[in-house]
Amino acid sequence: MRQTERWRHDPVPPRWHRGPPWLRRGSGGPLRRDPADRLAGGVAAGVAAWRGVSVTAVRVVFAVLAVVTWGLGVAVYVAAWLLIPAAGADGSIAGKARSDARGIRLAAGLGSLLIVVLLSLGALGDGWFVGWAWPQVFSVAGLVLIWRNAPADERATLRRLVEPLEQAAGSPAGSAAGEGTRAGRRGPALRIAVACVLLVAGAGLLFSRHESLALLRPLGGAVLVIAGIVVLLGPWWLRIARDLVLERQARVRAEERADIAARIHDSVLQTLALIQRRADDPHKVVQLARMQERELRSWLFEGRAPHQADADMTLAAGVRQIQQDVEASYGVPVEAVTVGDCQLDESLDALLAAAREATVNAAKWSGADAVSLFAEVEPAEVSVVVRDRGRGFDPEAVPADRKGLAESVHGRMARRGGTAAVSTAPGEGTKVTLTMPRAGTSSRADTASRA
């Protein structure tokens, strides 16, 4: 019981918020931002999941809209980010901001402080500055509210966005600080100096009244300004891009971990619990352990989910199915080996049915402690060999009612143009060899595509 409790409190993110892949096409649910798959705010991912279309397509559309609407699209995106709740969160940022009384007071306070500063500056007569700065009052107030109500990880992103400003502000003070950090600080300080020179030179060119520069001015000025911006902000852009990639990788890892944890819980832990309860029945314990081993193996090494329905079953999958079923029903280990693989058709279905009969017979009657099941796909034919080292039998002495089984194996194969050969003798074990020619050359040669 403790196990279950611990499990419930495990810090595994809830899996339902993205849902299994087959559900994610047109979820039909409410529109939610998807912070687990975001480049900026997760709006595109949310829309994509909501409408069941490709995230990349939505992102491209958003980018194109932002460009053709001269940036209005960006504002719409920000509004969407504010208004659409993140998946798994209980409300949108805007909704939370409305009910955040302390935040509103703080924003109002900061806003009014700025207004006082601006009014006093206005009194000093600098009209242009005041006109330019009025919108800042609203921006600051709004940002405070957003900041207080954004989810933690989005807050981290916002913090990164304002980082270079902090750095630029901090660097003059920083260069005066301890000797040890001096070398480390010189790089950014130098960069900022170079950027400032470029920016000033660019602005100078752009606003210069000198006639001889008239032609050069727009081009050269713009180039210098852009160069300045790149020098100033380039490394920071790079870092943001890298951080985004790292962050996405970390998220993917966390999700994988949650997925694995859920699988292990559903399969291994359940089986272990069953084994504990059946500890007094060694036969059952071995059977459970083998079933679990097989399931885990097929998941780990073949990427098949346990009990996954096989829409297009292949021969190898069919052989595996026989192995699982016989082991589960008769408790006799079946050592299965498959060489090559191909899609099933009617005659191969018959081959598998015959192979199942033979395997069940071996498990039921031979008394051997294991049955070996070998299937090989060759260009011209598919063969299956079922073999045991059990008591064997005298084919001549088989009673008529049991001969029917052998007949069903023989008959099944013969009807499809295949052959069945049984070689056995008392005490010698039994070997059933089934061979079925492959239908036409058009059938998919999986082995070839794999080479």
Binding site: E293, R297, L300, F301, E302, G303, E335, V337, T338, V339, G340, D341, A370, S372, F374, E376, E378, V385, R387, R389, K431, A445, D446, T447, A448, S449, R450, A451
Partner: protein, 220 residues
């Protein structure tokens, strides 16, 4: 095998429980001269004891078991490796065999079979489990996709003879060497030489870039 003395064995596995289990089960049939739980300790233990056979787990904490084989091969060529693993992921098996292990068995093998496999590896034979035989047949049966036929160093290495194929098939069906010999009317020694020849081809062949084949098979 009527060896005068039991083969000297080093156990390399990161699970202490498994090592002590194997040690207890094998009892007097082999002489366990050392144990190690990771690549570096394994190399040191092998250098120190110079065993006949190293029972090597394919998965070790700091890398694959093939790292041990590669490190020791140059200095102690007489040490033979028997790979042992809980997984049957083809790429793991193929990687450690290609590094130079003389055989591969799964951890679910019975004690008697394991002791027998160790003795056979110690005597210089190759030991193939039925699953490994299946992998090898699969790898060599696959015809290369057009456009990736690489000229091989030695075309002989690129395919199995009919007899080798026959032997591998029987191994995959769970036959012992003795049973194979009877089935094919050849001597057990001949069976062993066929298997050794397959092992050599497996280690030297460039055909189909075996490792890549194995990795892809996992996805199939």
């Amino acid at each position: 095998m009527t060896a005068a003395r039991p083969p000297r064995v080093v156990l390399v596995d990161d699970h202490g429980l498994f090592r002590s289990g194997v040690r207890a089960e094998l009892g007097r049939q082999v002489e366990v001269v050392g144990e190690a739980d990771d690549v570096q300790p394994a190399i040191e233990a092998i250098e120190a004891t110079s065993p006949d056979v190293v029972l090597l787990d394919v998965h070790l904490p700091s890398g694959g078991g093939q790292a041990v084989v590669q490190a020791v091969k140059a200095t102690r060529p007489q040490v033979r490796f028997l790979a042992l693993s809980a997984s049957d992921a083809p790429e793991d098996v193929i990687a450690v065999i290609r590094a130079g292990a003389r055989g591969y068995v799964t951890k679910t093998i019975s004690t008697a079979d394991l002791a027998d496999a160790i003795r056979r590896v110690a005597a210089g034979d190759a030991v193939f489990s039925h699953r490994l035989a299946g992998f090898v047949l699969d790898a060599f049966a696959a015809t290369p996709a057009p456009g990736e036929v690489k000229p091989s160093f030695d075309p002989e290495l690129d395919q199995l003879t009919g007899r080798e194929r026959e032997v591998l098939r029987l191994i995959a069906q769970g036959y012992t060497y003795k049973e194979i010999a009877r089935e094919l009317y050849i001597s057990a020694k001949t069976v062993e030489s066929h298997v050794s020849s397959v092992l050599r081809k497996l280690q030297l062949s460039t055909r189909h870039q075996l490792t890549r084949w194995a990795a892809e098979r996992r996805l199939a």
